[in-house]
């Protein structure tokens, strides 16, 4: 029995702090903690000294002071008499609205381009490759600036749209025309787009200082309700199929449920689009200096929206293509061999699997898009960074507070989006060993 060195069981030696697996990680963590705390203390100490030197303190009271600047695009009422805090909220809403529409347009564009890129059609595939590569390899900032400069600097003045008496006599057209079936006028001041108008509105409800348009709210409620009832119909169809083996036709029911209530409500409210136009007299001669009716959308918003959608669309196209290609051919073949038709194969076999691959990168693209809205600075779009992190910061000189608040808000938005993604991921995770 050669038991050379029976290690002593007990007794603590200092070297065990490093060489014993039980203490080693503890030792390292304590050292790291000390270093981190030292670093933080150093930073805080510096900050305190610097603030003292500049005779400043940390105080968020400025948020309740008068802002004193105007914001062109406002989703809730705001004047330059409102507070900095409210200006920040306007900015946040502007960030969210451009992010929201950006996500929608980018998804449509991306899915479209991604699917077309997979098509067997050589020409279409190549065109989409050019689109994707052109946008992926050139800075987003360039697209924002180019779209902005081109739309704002080349667009005609509002007066170019005017019809004069001479024109009617000579039968000539005005210098500029509205686009898209004569509904949208792009001028050097912005985009005049049609706005929704209700003849018999339900009025507005004031929640604190935020007005809520009840008509729009009613439409929203009806749309959601129809979607829910449509799902009930589909569930019923599924149950019938499971019981009897035959699936009742549902498409006309779905169509009916989805469309009829909304249309009925819109008719009841007297909905129509308010197309921007010059007021005209009986002969059709335009009066005034600018368009009336509709909504004037700032160039900064449209440029940001268009550039963000095109840019993110290119990335989404790649995600979609990757997702569909990740599903092996064997899956399609297996479905065909079981006798499923191409449409069913797509719905039951390919899409559920492809979505699992596509959705995570898709959501991270949404996250990127939301963060990239901060590039609105290039076109003076007053989003969160433009208000809180821009004008408010410069006016009040409270860099530390403004930056901190702004970062926290962005961080919150990002964390919400990524927790949605995690929820989705854990919901659809393939059950594997």
């Amino acid at each position: 029995m050669a038991m050379a060195s029976e290690a002593p069981k007990d007794g603590f030696r200092l070297s065990m702090l490093i060489y014993d697996t039980r203490f080693r990680s503890f030792t390292i963590q304590v050292i790291v903690l000390i270093l981190v705390l030292l670093g933080i203390a150093w930073l805080v100490d510096n900050t305190i000294q610097n603030l003292a030197a500049k005779d400043k303190d940390i105080n968020f009271g400025f948020l309740w002071n008068r802002a004193g600047y105007d914001i062109e695009q406002q989703l809730i009422p705001y004047t330059n008499d409102s507070t900095h805090g409210r200006a920040a909220i306007i900015g946040l809403l502007n960030t969210l609205v451009v992010a929201f529409w950006g996500c929608i347009f980018a998804t449509i564009l991306g899915v479209f381009a991604g699917v077309l890129r997979l098509s067997k059609n050589w020409l279409v595939g190549r065109l989409m490759t050019v689109y994707v590569e052109a946008f992926r390899n050139v800075p987003l900032l360039l697209w924002i600036i180019v779209v902005f400069v081109v739309t704002s600097e080349t667009a005609p003045q509002p007066k170019d749209f005017k019809v004069t008496a001479e024109m009617i006599q000579t039968g000539t057209e005005p210098a500029a025309q509205k686009v898209l079936f004569n509904t949208i006028a792009i001028t050097n001041r912005g985009w005049n787009i049609p706005g929704p108008l209700f003849e018999r509105p339900l009025g507005t409800l004031h929640l604190g200082s935020v007005p809520v348009n009840l008509s729009l709210l009613a439409v929203l409620v009806v749309v959601i309700a129809s979607f829910l009832s449509n799902r009930a119909v589909l569930r019923h169809a599924k149950r019938v199929q499971e019981d009897t083996g035959f699936r009742p036709t549902t498409w006309w029911k779905s169509l009916l449920i989805l469309i009829v209530p909304v249309v009925a409500l819109l008719v009841a409210l007297g909905f129509h689009l308010d197309v921007p136009a010059f007021p005209a007299d009986a002969n059709g001669v335009s009066k005034g200096f600018n368009f009336q009716g509709g909504i004037l959308v700032q160039h900064s918003f449209t440029a940001l929206l268009i550039a963000l959608s095109l840019y993110t669309g290119a990335f989404i196209a790649e995600a979609v293509r990757g997702g569909v290609m990740a599903i092996s051919r064997g899956q399609t073949e297996a479905a065909y061999a079981l006798g499923l038709r191409p449409g069913r194969t797509m719905n039951l076999i390919i899409l559920p699997q492809a979505l699992r691959v596509i959705i995570p990168p898709l959501i991270s693209q949404y996250l990127n898009l939301t963060k990239n809205t901060s590039l609105g600075i290039a076109v003076s779009y007053l989003d969160l960074r433009g208000t809180l992190g821009g004008i408010t910061l410069n006016q009040t000189g409270r860099e530390l507070e403004c930056m901190l608040l702004m970062m926290l808000i962005y961080l919150t938005i990002s964390l919400i989006i990524s927790s949605l993604m995690n929820l989705f991921n854990s919901a659809v995770k393939l059950k594997e060993r």
């Binding site: 490093i18 990680s25 390292i28 963590q29 050292i31 790291v32 903690l33 270093l35 981190v36 930073l43 510096n46 900050t47 000294q49 610097n50 603030l51 030197a53 077309l116 098509s119 067997k120 059609n121 050589w122 020409l123 279409v124 065109l127 590569e133 052109a134 992926r136 390899n137 050139v138 800075p139 987003l140 900032l141 360039l142 600036i145 180019v146 400069v149 081109v150 600097e153 963060k371 990239n372 901060s374 590039l375 600075i377 290039a378 960074r385 992190g389 910061l393 860099e399 530390l400 930056m403 702004m406 970062m407 962005y410 961080l411 990002s414 964390l415 990524s418």
Partner: protein
């Protein structure tokens, strides 16, 4: 019964020669039918795309081809191009040097060019360690450098000296490729000196700090292990940099050799984009690796710190980081420290990129089978050996596409530095050009110029990563 039997029994008396497929099934017709006109939907798509292409070309081609190269103002361009209009490339011809170098002194253009060329020399040992293939790269770069210098620099002495230097480096890479590692180690300091100028002793004194770190590490490592040695070495170097380096630099400041100092606000254009991009790319990789390892660590504190850092950085837009660099960093540093804006921006861009790199590498680490770790353990490798020899080579290889696309994103994002007052090629320089009375109102040409350069760089980076991926894959199968 009997006649079916007769049909089943069959003997071939004559073999069939292989025949060509029908006309519609071969050659160009087959290709056209399959790729452009398969079914009515496909045909419609083809026709629609053709229409789009033709319309675009009809609009762009004449404008492009009718471009004017020699003019002094936009007005002159328009006169020359005539009523049908044409691109005004004259603006590029007049201002290209600003797009490339910003306001860098013209007499000193050889410095950034040489720094750029030496970058490839420094990269050669990384890409082809100990192989002669590096010599090919250095040869090509050397020839291009000498040519561009001959075109740009009026001082023939510079051209000759640099030609000699490149030839010398080429010779080294041919005879003893491993020796080039020294160029790689010295490169950061050399590039700093070349770009910013001033006394050579400042970078040398800074380098000394790293020397101290290595020395302390060597002394301590056998006794206390890798982690402690690194930490102590780092602390020693920090103490040197904070308290001693200033004295050393001041004492040696007056001594030659020195170059004409260039201020950071004179940097601009693609020079600036490259300085920020390359530095941030190189520095973010090791930090990203450490963060990824930290995020996978068993130690709760280290894991929490890594996750917190990564998620914070990934949760805020880059612009806020840049504003932090320009507005807030001064609050966090000791009073009266006043260091360069480019350096501040580089630090924050590096941290930003490191968080993204960390996530990419984490994906690569997760893809490694557990057996690899177990085998490394069973052979008796310690943690850092296992990471360096077994885990990282494989994880990095898996992550190449993600790393490169992060780098591409980083390079594109260097344009955002214009918002903190630096002269990036896209917005900064173009704004200056467009503010010039001669070129007021021009927009397509400068943006196309800048866009094309960005496209070429980013596109070739992504293609190179695909090539690399393919090459590394075939190596092992």
């Amino acid at each position: 019964m009997s006649d079916t039997h007769a049909e089943t029994a069959f003997v071939r008396t004559e073999m069939l020669a292989p025949a060509l497929p029908p006309v519609t099934e071969r050659g160009a017709i087959k290709w056209l039918r399959e790729n452009l006109f398969a079914g009515w939907l496909n045909t419609a798509l083809t026709l629609a795309s053709l229409l789009v292409v033709v319309m675009l070309l009809a609009k762009i081609l004449p404008w492009w081809l009718n471009g004017v190269w020699n003019a002094t103002s936009l007005g002159e361009c328009r006169t020359i191009a005539g009523p049908e209009g044409g691109a005004c490339w004259a603006v590029i011809k007049a201002r290209w040097h600003q797009y490339i170098f910003g306001f860098y002194p013209q007499d000193a253009y050889w410095r950034p060019i040489l720094a750029f060329a030496l970058l490839f020399v420094a990269l050669a040992p990384v890409l082809y360690y100990g192989l002669r293939s590096g010599a090919k790269l250095i040869g090509v770069v050397g020839v291009l450098t000498v040519i561009s210098l001959a075109l740009l620099d009026h001082d023939i002495v510079h051209v000759i000296v640099i030609a000699g230097l490149m030839a010398g480096l080429f010779a080294i890479s041919w005879v003893a490729p491993k020796r080039l590692v020294y160029v790689t180690i010295l490169y950061p300091f050399l590039a700093f000196w070349l770009l910013w100028g001033g006394s050579i002793w400042k970078p040398v004194a800074t380098m000394l700090g790293f020397g101290i770190m290595v020395l302390v590490y060597r002394l301590v490592q056998p006794r206390l292990g890798v982690v402690m040695a690194t930490a102590i070495g780092f602390v020693a170097a920090c103490i040197y940099w904070l308290f001693v380096q200033g004295l050393v630099t001041n004492a040696l400041a007056g001594l030659p050799p020195s170059l004409l100092p260039v201020n950071s606000d004179q940097f601009g254009g693609f020079l600036l984009a490259f300085v920020i991009g390359v530095t941030a790319i190189i520095c973010s990789l090791p930090i990203g690796i450490l963060l990824a390892l930290g995020r996978r660590s068993d130690m709760l504190l280290i894991k929490t710190l890594s996750v917190g850092f990564i998620e914070f950085i990934r949760g805020v837009p880059l612009i806020t980081m840049l504003f932090t660099a320009s507005l807030l960093l001064q609050y966090f540093l000791p009073p009266q420290t006043n260091f360069d804006l480019i350096l501040r921006v580089v630090i924050l861009v590096t941290l930003f990129a490191a968080a993204y790199i960390a996530e990419v590498i984490r994906g690569g680490l997760a893809a490694l089978p557990r057996g690899q770790y177990e085998a490394a353990d069973a052979l008796g490798l310690d943690y850092w050996q296992a990471q360096r020899l077994i885990v990282m080579p494989q994880a990095l290889k898996i992550s190449i596409p993600g790393i490169v696309s992060t780098f591409i994103g980083l390079f594109k994002d260097t344009t955002l530095v214009s918002f903190v007052g630096l002269l990036d090629p896209l917005r900064g320089v173009t704004q200056i050009v467009r503010a010039d009375i001669n070129w007021k109102g021009i927009y397509w040409e400068p943006y196309i110029f800048v866009g094309v350069i960005f496209f070429l760089i980013c596109f070739s980076m992504s293609r190179y990563s695909m090539y690399l991926e393919q090459k590394l894959k075939t190596d092992h199968r």
